[in-house]
């Protein structure tokens, strides 16, 4: 305990190591020694799983009523000290009110140098910048974008940002790399015992899977709800047996920003074309067959892809055994039409999907543990036949970047992206250029996914298949596919001709501001400080 409560050491940027991907990474990450990436599938951790402290039920109210008046009281009774770690989760997305409220309550208690460990952060959490400026929060280990991304990218955060995949977050908790002192779980419905669920209530959001690890492994667990029901809260995804305190508040989030009323398919003709190419690719490569499975998220191209794959499934008279989401009305339509037996849902994006997960037993909430965890005895992600993902950049070796923009600024979290690379066929569906910035580059700004795991890059100007996947190329030839299959270098050259050459490399300072973890906990790459605000030239 004493070790965790000391003030965190300053970043020692002095010691770097070239990892197996050839990227220069720091050995010291926020006072812990971190292993450099050793190659895909190479790292074999040893030891035992981290455990939460033993508790006794006799210390908890026999009537099951764990309510306390407010977050401040709950944090105080959890024994929150300086330098501890508070975790939160992003199932309320950009509508979340709980994470900032918890950190502000910690500030009221006078706590300092906390580590905030969100499963992802959103622009609504911009007030955390003020808490970092005031010393309440020391640093963030979790995705950063928008204002928080800019704050970190410009080197203003005291510690290093640590970007982990959803599975990597579970891994870090389970092997003790991150010790969660207090988990604060926003719950759309809960009972006084702490059982909680996400599919009902005014702030319903669907699955609470991101919070499961914290509920099991944190020293203390606080459930915060705006929809308290009498025991039992059924169904429960968070078990009250893991929960210390329950706090009732007026509102945990802004429903309009938690789920979208309707999810709109892209109108961009180029993105529609990419989506159609991806669907036809799966057909022509022989992946669409009875009992197959795929995963597609809620991005514009992925949604449109679901529409096209649905037409192909109808034409061919086949159905999927399961599809994985990010679920939206488009996946729900597949389920209701009988084109898939199950939706295995990691995150629930729109009202139709929330309603479906609440009412359809074939629409099942999953978690990073079922799907993504390096320390799991297998993962659902590797059972998926094909996954459609995005990226900000990909290089001619199929290595991809999802966390930074081409100018070096932090832009996105990793999410489940890295974990999904384990699927049978990983497809990046990308516009070949955005404004004048080409998506295919010589070397990605930040390595987030090794090229050996990325099989296909689909753009509106052609589809590049990783030369390692001779099986896919053979299948396309055998089916007589008329898709524009082209070498990745050729697409790159064509786009560069159009946009006026490759972009200049951004000017990055030799000062790390964050690290990108691989799914096994090793350090895949470093995010460097951006020299000046982008957009200034001349």
């Amino acid at each position: 305990m004493a070790e965790r409560t000391r003030a965190r050491p300053a970043v020692d940027s002095g010691t770097f190591h070239l990892n197996a991907a050839g990227r220069r990474v720091p050995l010291d990450v926020n006072g812990r020694v971190s292993l450099p990436f050793e190659g895909v599938g190479m790292h074999r951790p040893v030891g035992a799983r981290h455990g939460a402290p033993i508790r006794s039920c006799s210390d908890y109210p026999a009537n099951g009523d764990k309510r306390v008046p407010d977050l401040r009281t709950a944090l105080e009774r959890c024994g929150l000290e300086d330098g501890m770690t508070i975790s939160s989760h992003h199932h309320l997305r950009n509508g979340d009110l709980v994470a900032v409220a918890a950190l502000q309550a910690a500030a009221e208690l006078g706590r300092r140098d906390l580590m905030w460990f969100p499963s992802a952060s959103f622009p609504c959490q911009e007030p955390v910048i003020d808490l970092m400026e005031r010393g309440v929060v020391h640093h963030i280990e979790g995705s950063m974008n928008g204002p928080l991304g800019a704050y970190c990218s410009h080197g203003r955060m005291r510690g290093l940002g640590v970007l982990r995949s959803h599975g990597g977050r579970w891994q870090a908790i389970q092997d003790g790399e991150v010790h969660v002192d207090v988990a604060v779980i926003a719950a759309p419905t809960a009972d006084p015992f702490g059982n909680a669920d996400g599919s009902h209530g005014p702030s319903a959001c669907g699955s609470l899977g991101f919070a499961l690890a914290d509920s099991i492994y944190a020293d203390h667990v606080i459930v915060v709800t705006d929809n308290l029901v009498e025991f039992p809260c059924v169904p429960w995804q968070i078990q009250g047996n893991n929960v210390d305190f329950v706090v009732e508040v007026d509102s945990i989030g802004d429903p309009a920003k938690i789920v979208s009323g309707t999810t709109q398919i892209t109108k961009s003709p180029d993105r529609l074309l990419i989506a159609e190419y991806v669907a036809r690719f799966l057909r022509d490569a022989g992946i669409v067959r009875d009992g197959f499975s795929f995963q597609a998220g809620a991005g514009g191209i992925a949604l449109a892809f679901v529409g096209y794959i649905r037409e192909i499934m109808r034409e061919q008279g086949v159905k999927a055994r399961f599809v994985r989401g990010g679920s939206t009305s488009y996946l729900v339509d597949l389920l209701n039409e009988g084109l898939t037996d199950y939706i295995l849902d990691g995150q629930t994006f729109d009202l139709a999907a929330v309603e479906s997960i609440a009412s359809n037993p074939r629409h099942v909430a999953t978690s990073p543990f079922t799907s993504y965890n390096w320390h799991g005895k297998g993962n659902f992600a590797s059972l998926v036949d094909a996954v459609v993902l995005g990226a900000t950049e990909v290089d001619v070796g199929f290595n991809a970047n999802v966390v930074t923009h081409s100018d070096g600024m932090l832009l996105h979290g990793i999410g489940g992206w890295q974990n999904c690379l384990a699927s049978g066929c990983t497809i990046l569906a990308l516009p070949a250029f955005r404004d004048r910035i080409p998506v295919i580059v010589d070397e990605v700004t930040t390595l987030t996914g090794p090229g050996e795991l990325i099989d296909v890059v689909a753009t509106e100007r052609g589809i590049a298949v990783n030369p390692r996947r001779t099986d896919l190329l053979d299948a396309l030839r055998a089916s007589g596919s008329d898709l524009p299959i082209r070498p990745i270098e050729e697409i790159k050259a064509e786009v560069e001709k159009l946009v006026g050459g490759p972009p200049r490399r951004p000017e990055l300072l030799d000062e790390p501001v964050a690290v990108v973890k691989w799914v096994d906990g090793t350090v895949l790459d470093t995010v460097w400080r951006v020299a000046e605000p982008p957009g200034a030239a001349g």
Binding site: R434, R436, I437, E460, G500, R504, P534, A536, A537
Partner: protein, 408 residues
């Protein structure tokens, strides 16, 4: 036009929604050299490239002293060049030649009876929409200088269109420009006629002299064969359809603008199109009489794919060979609607086979089984088979639009 010779010029577009475009403000000066101020969302990646394109244009126009301010949202160089030129022109600069280097080949002129099922409208003042237009495989692209361009932006759009024609690969689509009604349209031709265009659409034509004037101006600017497609958009234009279609040999197609035509009649435009049936039939008849292609108007509701299919199917049945597209999503439904159905194609193939056999045997009468086939039926079958060859429906035969692929 009343700007002083040493003045200020502004060109381009900039607000929060604008992407891949820019705004340029140019103030000419007597001394001090070129002062550039560039802000760009891609500044850290392409700042140098932007500066060098601005300088190139200023140099090409002989501007030595000016303050040029650029606010860029990720435009490519030919667009930057067009906007800078427009700003300097608006500031009073005359003379000079700031055309960007041509990076796409001229390509062979297109055939008079080329497949023209779809023509995709691309607003001349929104360059972003043009860059990937060819990927959607329209038979033609129309860089539009008329209705989609605000009156105040006409000369600026002309420069954008000119630069795009020199640098964007439309991947085998026929390169068309819709000019403004004359006399403004003649200025449009001065800017673009030399840029290897294949066809000019002339709006609101009511008089064959308009067509002749366009034809003459093109011939002054280029030796290349450039086809004309007059657009009839008024009651008077419709009544003079045959005269207009026969005005010059280079009229290869005739079409109708339904928004303006129905407004001229004072009736509502409906999805059934009953109000314009007479006019559209008049177009089909006049076009056939003048040996050119009858082409239908556009279907404006992009979201209504069923409505589009139904319209296009009826248009084909009336005798049209194609129609316009306001969004790339409309291209495929239109191509499908204007293709012969499998039944029609099969029957046509049998008739053509019988015709060829009769020819080979020197028999004047074509018969299929016990049935004699009249010459007009043979003619229609030959036409159906010819279309199917060019659409690729007959797979072993030459690919569609092969003559234009060298635009490449």
């Amino acid at each position: 036009m009343n700007e002083p010779a040493r003045g200020r010029g502004v060109a381009g577009r900039m607000d929060a929604d604008v992407r891949s475009d820019l705004q340029v403000t140019a103030d000419l000066a007597e001394k001090g050299g070129l002062q550039l101020s560039v802000t760009s969302k891609v500044g850290s990646l392409y700042g140098d490239a932007i500066q060098s394109e601005v300088r190139r244009v200023a140099r090409a126009l002989g501007v030595q002293h000016a303050r040029i301010e650029v606010e860029d949202a990720g435009a490519i160089d030919p667009v930057i060049g067009a906007r800078v030129e427009a700003a300097l022109r608006a500031a009073g600069v005359t003379g000079g030649d700031a055309r960007p280097e041509r990076t796409v080949p001229h390509g062979e002129p297109t055939a008079r009876d080329r497949l023209r099922r779809s023509r995709l409208y691309l607003p001349g003042d929104q360059p972003k929409l043009s860059l990937n237009a060819g990927l959607h495989r329209p038979d033609g692209v129309i860089l539009d200088l008329e209705d989609s361009v605000h009156p105040a932006q006409k000369s600026a759009a002309r420069l954008v269109v000119r630069n795009l024609l020199r640098t964007v690969d439309f991947m085998g689509a026929e390169r068309m420009v819709r000019i403004n009604p004359l006399p403004l349209g003649l200025e449009d031709l001065d800017a673009v006629a030399g840029e290897s265009i294949d066809m000019v659409l002339i709006p609101k034509v009511e008089d064959p002299d308009t067509v002749r004037a366009v034809h003459e101006r093109i011939r002054e600017r280029t030796d290349r064969q450039v086809w004309l497609m007059p657009i009839l958009e008024t009651a008077l234009g419709i009544e003079r359809a045959l005269e207009i279609a026969s005005a010059v040999d280079s009229v290869a197609a005739l079409t109708i603008g339904l928004e303006d035509y129905t407004a001229d009649l004072g009736v509502a435009k409906t999805v059934e199109g009953g109000e314009s049936l007479y006019a559209r039939m008049r177009i089909v008849n006049a076009a056939r009489a003048a040996d050119c292609q009858p082409i239908d108007s556009v279907f404006g509701d992009v979201a209504d794919e069923e409505g589009l299919r139904s319209w296009a199917t009826r248009a084909r049945a009336l005798g049209f060979e194609g129609m316009g597209c306001v969004h790339p999503r409309q291209i495929r439904p239109i191509h499908e609607a204007f293709a012969p159905t499998p039944d029609q194609l099969e029957k046509a193939l049998r008739i053509v086979a019988a015709f060829e056999e009769a020819e080979a045997r020197g028999i004047g009468v074509v018969s299929l089984g016990s049935k004699m086939i009249d010459p007009p039926v043979v003619k229609r079958a030959l036409r159906t088979v010819s279309i199917a060859k060019r659409t690729g429906q007959l797979a072993d035969l030459p690919a569609p639009n092969q003559e234009a692929d060298s635009h490449g």
